[in-house]
Amino acid sequence: MSTAAPKRPEGPARLDWRIRLRRDRSLLLMTVPAAALLLVFNYVPLFGIVTAFQEYDPLVGVWHSEWVGFDQFQQLFGDPAFWASMKNTLYLSFVQLILFFPVPIALALLLNSVMSERIRNLFQSVVYLPHFFSWVLAITIFQQMLGGAGVLNQFLRQHDIGTWDIMTDPHTFALLVTSQAIWKEAGWGIIVFLAALSAINSELYEAAAADGAGRFRRTWHITLPGLRGVIVLMLVLRLGNALSVGFEQFLVQREAVGHEAADVLDTFSFYYGIATGGYSYGAAAGLFKSVVSLLLIWGANTLAHAFGEDGLYRK
């Protein structure tokens, strides 16, 4: 404590690394627990990817399992169940992009036009809430409202209109999971858009109004361009996650609706990898998904740059 540490210099002048180490050793020490956890649980599994090129046997471990090269991938690409889950993933992702993505933007625009501070705060506290629910809870709530024994069918039965168990109907499953996602996450999604809206210079609106631009022209010419950067960023993130449509959400509902409708790449990897013990097969599916996801996020980001936006990082 008593040895006054040398001040971290403002200028480019660099101290010798030994002096810097002496000065910064507590700082480095502080990062050790987090870095160690990440090394064990995030970096070591990276080497576990090799199991995708083996016939992994839990009894002998990674070191002694048989190498099979690309056999797992060959088998995977010839597996109709894999392509079915791929098709589901892309289809669900597409439906969510069309139906989910605009909702937070619309809600943010609506809320931004509300003048009363109290209503704005009340609305925000309520719509943020479902984001903190677990998927088990959110789906249970949906089940109680729309399921075979839920409020909707209770009403239909009492009025003799016939019943419709939405929770187990594979034909409408895409719409069901999208409305679940909207119910749970759309409210939370407005935060970034609200912030972007409040960052728009209000003098722009005033000038436009003085020039005779009405409500809608101001929205079109000032508000939407002001949101462009955030919208593009959110789109890049959405596209990068196109192959992750919500693992837990599908895991919980797979039993009720059947695997034909509910299997996505992540659940495929889980069921074929861990539940049935085909570790290498599941790891191959997981690796395929990771690689395609990285390509997608890179592609989406390049596209954003092509449109003159920042995307994930500045060019």
Binding site: M1, L28, M30, P33, P45, Q154, R215, G286, S290, L294
Partner: protein, 324 residues
């Protein structure tokens, strides 16, 4: 030291005051804007009201059903929409049910221990990376950020945890996801904004980095500590997939979410339930009001904590989104 602390608290108060003033000024309609039309206001009100109703009405129905008598549930033919006969009997029954009580204790334990571990590790790491031009911070930061984009995937992670002997162990529910790089970046962004005058003043007084973190940085960043704690705690409270991975058969170790999944969502009978008629021998589905009480139970901690943290959420999320 004391000097630095008074500056810190004064700075915080001033910050709050300007924030409040800015918020107030926004609630006045600017003079150049057209007066609102009746139709427009009505449409706006309807949309806002409908959005709130979609979230609140299901919660209302579930809470009401959990407080209803069996007679009320029968008369309603299932879920109760209007108050009919109210009783807290279901809750007494639930809190005597060993399955639910064990699960509640497990959930609380995992959440408290997990959040403590995660926060300790994250605060240290975030401060360790927050001082400009410190040795090696770029490297460690890179190490962290890479994990946000590249991962081994589900099966390699599972093999690592089970390889370390984690199957059936409590730590398997906590340590593999104890570090959220996003949360560390949020904390770090706040610590970087802690005024360097304060830190220099403390350093002049002879404080080292540990002391500065504890007495200067942490007291001036309570809001972000609250938000990141909430994020971690919610993560632990809500997790059920790791239970499915590491202790799927040991029902004594199941947390509340897994009990909710098994006995309410999938409708299996509650074993050892005290209500006559659906003991483990019959394995019938538990009565609806009891199921709904379990749903409410998973909501309670969240509803208790949420009001305290809610006003800080915006800051936490935006810092993470912009700087991360």
């Amino acid at each position: 030291m004391t000097n630095a602390l008074t500056i810190a608290s004064r700075r915080r108060r001033r910050h709050d005051a300007t924030g409040a003033a800015r918020q107030r000024s926004r609630s006045v309609r600017p003079p150049w804007e057209e007066p609102p039309t009746v139709v427009g206001q009505a449409a706006k009100g309807l949309t806002l009201g409908a959005t709130l109703a979609v979230i609140l009405v299901p919660l209302w129905i579930i809470v009401l059903t959990s407080f209803s008598t069996p007679g009320a549930v029968n008369r309603a033919g299932g879920l109760v929409i209007w108050p009919d006969g109210l009783s807290a009997e279901t809750y007494r029954q639930m809190l005597n049910d060993p399955t639910v009580v064990t699960a509640l204790m497990v959930s609380l334990g995992i959440t408290v221990v997990g959040t403590a571990v995660s926060m300790a590790v994250s605060i240290l790491c975030a401060y360790g990376l927050s001082r400009p031009r410190s040795l090696g911070h770029r490297f460690v930061l890179m190490l962290l950020i890479i994990t946000m984009f590249v991962g081994g995937g589900l099966i390699p992670s599972f093999l690592v945890v089970t390889g370390l002997g984690g199957y059936g162990q409590w730590w398997a529910l906590i340590l593999p996801n104890a570090v959220s790089v996003f949360n560390i970046l949020v904390l770090r962004a706040f610590y970087q904004e802690t005024s360097s005058e304060l830190i220099d003043a403390a350093r002049m007084d002879g404080a080292g980095d540990w002391r500065i973190l504890w007495s200067v940085v942490l007291p001036t960043s309570r809001a972000v500590t609250a938000v990141t704690s909430l994020f971690y705690a919610v993560g632990y409270w809500n997790s059920f997939f790791n239970v499915m991975l590491y202790m799927p058969t040991d029902s004594q170790k199941w947390p509340l979410q897994y009990v909710l999944l098994t006995y309410v969502n999938r409708g299996n009978g509650l074993p050892g339930s005290v209500n006559s008629g659906f003991g483990s021998a019959h394995a019938q589905t538990a009565p609806l009001s009891l199921q709904m009480a379990v749903v409410v139970l998973t909501l309670v901690p969240l509803v208790i904590v949420y009001p305290f943290v809610q006003k800080h959420l915006r800051t936490g999320v935006l810092t993470g989104a912009i700087k991360g």
